[in-house]
């Protein structure tokens, strides 16, 4: 496990910088406001201990919240999906289970597996995030629509990043 630490630290920092410098600066519309940083949680190795997933999600959320002035909002949403990730991994597991030494990436798991996996977790994250933001069901239709379009946008950028990051 420990040998992955520098690599994942690098991914951690890259995800934060991309979110802060590019995606937070986009400001095109409420409907196109992707939470690219969830990529870090998606990419964690299959055998990552639960406590480590939760703690690293918490740290990631805190930092993102600091940049967005949204104390606790992104933290709550990202910890939520870090908690559900093992269950989702179970749900979408291939028939023969995960091969030891494999990672949740397109290159190793295939496109359709990765799309299914990331779409479920990103949708959970976005719906949690935007309902925490709205904190009420006043504009429930609008909130649902915002969460939906942002789920698509985030998934799109996450998938694109796969082709750029792990080309080799």
């Amino acid at each position: 496990m420990i040998k992955y630490l520098p690599k994942y630290l690098l991914i951690f920092i890259t995800c934060i910088l991309l979110q802060v410098v590019i995606f937070n600066e986009m400001q095109i519309s409420r409907f196109l406001n992707p939470s690219f940083y969830v990529l870090f949680i998606l990419l964690l190795p299959f055998e990552t201990p639960k406590w480590l997933q939760l703690i690293s999600a918490f740290a990631l959320g805190l930092i993102i919240d600091a940049f967005m002035n949204t104390a606790g909002m992104n933290t709550a949403a990202i910890v939520f999906i870090a908690f559900l990730r093992p269950a989702v991994l179970n749900l979408v597991s291939p028939r023969e289970g995960y091969e030891p030494g494999s990672f949740p990436r397109i290159a190793q798991m295939g496109f359709s597996w990765f799309l299914k996996y990331s779409l479920i977790l990103i949708a959970l994250h976005q719906f949690a995030l935007f309902f925490i933001e709205a904190m009420s069901f006043n504009f429930v239709g609008l909130t649902l629509l915002v969460a939906l379009t942002n789920t698509i946008a985030t998934t799109f950028f996450v998938i694109v990043s796969q082709f750029i990051m792990f080309k080799r």
Partner: protein, 263 residues
Amino acid sequence: MRNLLKLFLKYYAVFLFLLLEFLAFLMLFQQNHYHNAVFLNSASGVVGFINTRAAHVVDYFTLKKENDLLQQENLYLRQKLEEKTAASAEYESTYVDAKVINNSVVRQKNFITINRGEIHGMKKQMGVLSPTGVIGVVENTSPHFASIIPIININFHLSAQLAKNSFYGALGWDGQDPQFAQLHEIPNYVDVQKGDTIVTSGFSYSFDEGKLIGTVHSAEKSSASAFWTIQVKLATNFRNINHVYVIDRAKIEEQKSLEVKHD
């Protein structure tokens, strides 16, 4: 006891999850109620530094727009100068210019961060203007940065009035469109027309009277209440603010301390 420990070890992830969510929501609610309690925000040093860098990158893409804005700004300043020489210096305010280093428009609780802080004299509650109109109020300060709660934040409220007859109401934002805010509490017997100018009322500690907020976009009478529902087209385009002015009202502390005595 051993069973309890076993149970805890088995489900430790659930407990950890609940603990972390509890902390996250604690922060969330604290931010809403007491902004001071937030230790991590965009006004803090490291975050401010990185935001400054990011703002530098974006600067290059907006040079053209920036030029136009500077031109507008010149005009504004020239008018200001005339006003200043003409008007009496009875209630003097000074302006501090600042640059926006972080801005959001797509959330419900939008914030703006500027590159002026306590060492430049920034204090909470100071009003912030753009060359075209009212932006918001200073919310948090650090030595070098300040965060501003703009009109387009659902927690923002400001006393505003109709320029033509000085009827005043409460300006707020419903979290929908960053171009429009809502003016409440204007009685429905008052004459309100599309295009009427909405300005600050002078009842707030942050702004002098008569600062432009926007114009009436639509006004609806509802049979259920005695008040207008007014959509205000904001004079400031929050998507492209770069330079702002913070109002330093010289005598506001005096006014505040006087008014506290009545309580």
